[in-house]
Symmetry: D2
Subunit: 372 residues, 4 copies
């Protein structure tokens, strides 16, 4: 209830602080009998890891995951899977000057007012570092969903600051530090980021995340609709300020005759819905877009107050991502996977013996991403 | 877990179908000792009610609420408050032709695939009619929050189809059928809606909802952040496809030096955050915007399939809102109130004896709505 | 969270007060496609109903249930099933003298201290009348479990005050007002109760409840063990002060070589476990026993205090059960059914594709009730 | 939902297996600002630790706890407190002969049928070793409750096998390996246990646990009554088969005129209720008793089946407690503390601004333990 657990049936309980001894999570509710090893999880952790290019924070964390429980002879047993990641590169000194002030746009002020005290070292609990356990848990969900339904998750950047990123070739996403789906704009992106870093400023970003091979029927109306839980998961990622499903804000200027996706025996003729109808998955691709605000920790001086309420000026010289959006792609994938996983189990609980009256409409004509 | 309960500590359990005997909800967890009567609830129900202008569905429902429990001598006792609304104007005949087909963009298909059967009368459980109990519960939350913190909720339309609606005068919102914050565009809006209805089509909409007089410290990171729960509540409203907090998608092209709201002893100098920092309320106004898709039930013919998977054509001749967004304003207010209420109790549970180290920054300079 | 919801996946939300307009519940999570009607529910309500013999309260309530939602053409749709029971025989006058004092052993004092006020009419929310919606929900669970697994629930009295009741013939339970499994002690029981009523006093009771035809594998260790949830459900029944599973307190003087139920290919050789091993159902009969305290509302004068803390004397002249245990049998059955139902869905969620390695051990030799 | 989390607002998520790398838990929802260190927790862990006398298992575990998160400068921050205990003395070889058979009375069979596989090393997840993280979490709750309300928890054995243990001097409990509240029976107990161990058998036990200095008003009727949650917590302890509150099964033969605790301005005149009225704490001492079955792992040969369903004989030669009840006292205390803690926060959430109308009745005359 204090908010550190994600999901209802596939439950991930997250712990740790940026500069404490360790971070990690406990996954409760994983189906038994699935082969699992650290390697399955490490892959996604490495995609999120800091220090992998000059465009992200230079903090050097191996983010090596240890599985503490829940396996026997390489298979999940159905008992909790505890994952531990030791923090190794905490330079608390970096933050010495921030102990008594509040960075504009940062959680410093609100944490302090809520709890009456705060761990100021590296943002404490509010650090984006705490997305690592989420990514680890997401890797477990991804593996099960791939085996069970053939579901696959992929995300990519669609905009960095003013720079729109063209979707040209999905295969390129893994081959550049920007999760860009092309090879042609990488130089442009590098130049943009270098200038930004030099200026001591930060920028926003936008990205898409998609799930393909979706089962039909996931989602629990009225209040736990599939898209509602996706929106919660996405808005809960550090720095996210907007979420769209399918047509998103574009639907405002659409007509009903244009928005509603027509059905044919061969499949849906478009995917403005983004894979969700009435809060329940339709079997079409899930299509989600999010907006990520610029990093709050910048070198440029900003007005603020100190712990006594007196005016002061804040500058942040620690190691920070100038565009937090860049590393957000594997995080958004992980959260989407966690939502799908949780709802797959919820659906099975109530409707496990329902035979869907019709085979899911064929995927051939689903009007897949990149829609938004 | 089947999704009909909203909230963790102020819990609203919703029941009913569009054309069943009754709809309603049970509110569990309301603090004891608050004066409450049907009149407190009826006011908001009347704002959401169908049949109040020619621009919304002509279904004629009084939406008269009956309180079945939870009160003694006019005060809440702390026990569940059950609210009942009888359905009185169900013309099931309206939907006879839809029993065997699926309206494009509607929940017909996904409900049927999930549960193996569906109640086709008026959309059954997927009907926007089921927002009435939510609005009723929201009215209870609004009353408590107003008394406890002075918090007030207000929503208004900012766009209908291609037509942007200027924010000129908040006092006008209550005086036109469009929840428009001006008197100058009403004629234009009426003409737009008349043309749309005549064409047998529908359109999307966009609206803002704001909470003023917010307490500091609400929200439960990591996963139940305040903005995350707001996003869930908003995306869960029928037909919503996008949610923004504060700057929303506008943050993508902002720099960090521009987005982060500076603090002064007199208050925040702007409100790009929309009232939430690190998933915790900052005391600034909550500022939320949502996108609402065009109604799926339209008179224009659309391609679909029938229950045997064969191609067919669908037209809907029942009584429908050509722009569901219009009646969504009190719904969005209610859901925002429910999120604030639930988090107020959650915060009190864990931090009930925390003295906020600093008085909340004064409201004078909060950079209130209409921001987005 | 305020405690009016039972279950995690098959969720029953209960509302109402003894002397309010109505009582009822909302069942969320019922699997779709099951035939259901008021008659299925009314049967168990009638078994619990007051006024059916001179040995129970003379309040005359028809307890007629109305299904408000969740059905279409006689089948459950998977959406919430709301059940409504109007109160018809409230004589608030009966309690006039109790408004300002607290009956010893009753919830009057604790409710008032918790909430700062209380509904004194007939015990308000603390009345055993609120078990009626639970019984109604239990009837829905029983029907599904009978169809799905062939599970059957039966309870009977084993003791009333000092009078032990012999288990002779299960078929007799339905044919006497005491839920006694024999015909030979009925006269003795009637005489006992008549004397008690005449004395203005009340007595305790003990009963057994059993589930036969249990699936293997229900229960969620570590904390939501099957027996733990059964104990919670039973202790939560009004007036229950003790719960036993299988050998119960008898295990204290057993040796390990005696208690542990040996397994053979033909089945377990005894059932001291009461059907639960390590918090998980073993497929043996569930065997539960509970102790029910004497009714607190008696005619004999008792010392108490009034609302100002001053000493006073309390006597209760309303209509009360001299032995609340008598009507508790269908209540205990209903709660046991709700626990089994909830855990059946929980098990299916996580382990829905597990093939039990061995067929459940045959029932022939299960050492069934009446064990405790 | 898979059952590894205890509590709603003070949530403890438990992980680990008897012979895996580590066990531990994550506590979410602890109020901020409380001084906490490993020493606060180690004390209770040491009381539960194996290997401390010849009467308990000789497994040698230091049970050294490490706090991984949730503290800053020695104070709780309100974020999750992760506790880690490395397993150091796992001799899997001890269990080699049990891989393919099922010990009568043990969870071997039910785990294997539920999950389709099991971790057989030392009982895996079903081992009583997993109570260590619960005890650790209970120590945190105890500290907060002592500071907030002055609540204190104490448990003691009342019976071992056929041997009743007299309550003579509470101060003796800490000075013998049996948690006996006297010094006069220790020799007798030692002789009893030595004979039992020599015989290769095991025995049951009974113990009492009490909370003194209870706040009034805890508990959430209808379904999350205080006594209901206590019963769940107690029955969920490994090997518990029965739970009593206050008079317990003794109430069956009580009259109402005897059972109902009379109130006076000086306090209650007795405590048959055991501190709970109508599911809500009355401010009297909480009085709970539990029955613990004999250990299933014994040296004596027992009939069973193997994984192929064929008959076999089982004997267990590992290191086991001949009376698991002995080490259960600190476990029962911890669980009672967790229930009180969780309900204290739940009560504060809903009723945080209720002023109890009357000061709690004075404790002088509460009729405290040892009642049952």
């Amino acid at each position: 209830m204090a908010g550190s657990t994600f999901g209802e049936l596939f439950r991930v309980t997250n712990f740790g602080e940026s500069h404490g001894p360790a971070i990690g999570c406990v996954i409760d509710g994983c189906p038994p009998g699935m082969a699992l090893s650290e390697a399955d999880i490490q892959r996604d952790l490495d995609r999120r890891r800091p220090g992998t290019s000059r465009h992200v924070t230079q903090r050097n964390e191996a983010d090596r995951v240890e599985i503490l429980s829940g396996l026997y002879e390489g298979l999940t047993t159905g008992t909790p899977i505890a994952l531990l990641i030791r923090n190794t590169d905490q330079r608390s000194g970096d933050y010495g000057n921030l102990l008594d002030t509040f960075r504009p746009g940062h959680a410093d002020y609100s944490y302090w007012q809520k709890y009456g005290l705060r761990d100021p070292r590296g943002g404490g609990r509010a650090s984006a570092r705490l997305t690592a356990p989420t990514v680890a848990a997401g890797a477990v969900a991804k593996k099960w969903l791939a085996q069970q339904y053939g579901t696959r998750f992929v995300g990519w950047m669609t905009q960095v600051g003013e720079l729109a990123i063209r979707f040209e070739d999905e295969a390129q996403i893994a081959h550049n530090p920007f999760f860009a789906a092309n090879a042609s704009q990488i130089a442009e992106l590098e130049a943009y980021m270098d200038a930004l870093r030099k200026a001591g400023d930060s920028c926003g970003a936008r990205l898409s995340v998609v799930a393909r091979g979706m089962p039909v029927g996931l989602g629990e109306p009225l209040y736990d609709k599939f898209d509602a839980d996706i929106a919660k998961a996405m808005m809960g990622i550090n720095a996210v300020k907007g979420v769209e499903i399918g047509a998103g804000f574009g639907c405002v200027t659409q007509k009903g005759s244009q928005h509603g996706d027509e059905l044919t025996p061969q499949g849906f003729r478009s995917n403005h819905a983004g894979g969700v109808l009435g809060g329940i998955s339709s079997g079409q691709d899930l299509v989600v877009a999010i907006a990520i605000k610029p990093t709050s920790s910048i070198r440029l001086p900003r007005q603020s107050i100190d712990r006594d309420g007196r005016p002061t000026v804040v500058q942040t010289f620690g190691r920070h991502d100038p565009c937090v959006g860049i590393r957000a792609t594997p995080i958004a994938e992980a959260l989407l996977a966690l939502v799908v996983m949780d709802h797959a189990l919820r659906h099975r609980a109530q409707c496990g013996d329902v035979a869907a009256p019709l085979p899911p409409i064929a995927a051939s004509d689903r009007g897949s991403a990149p829609a938004p």
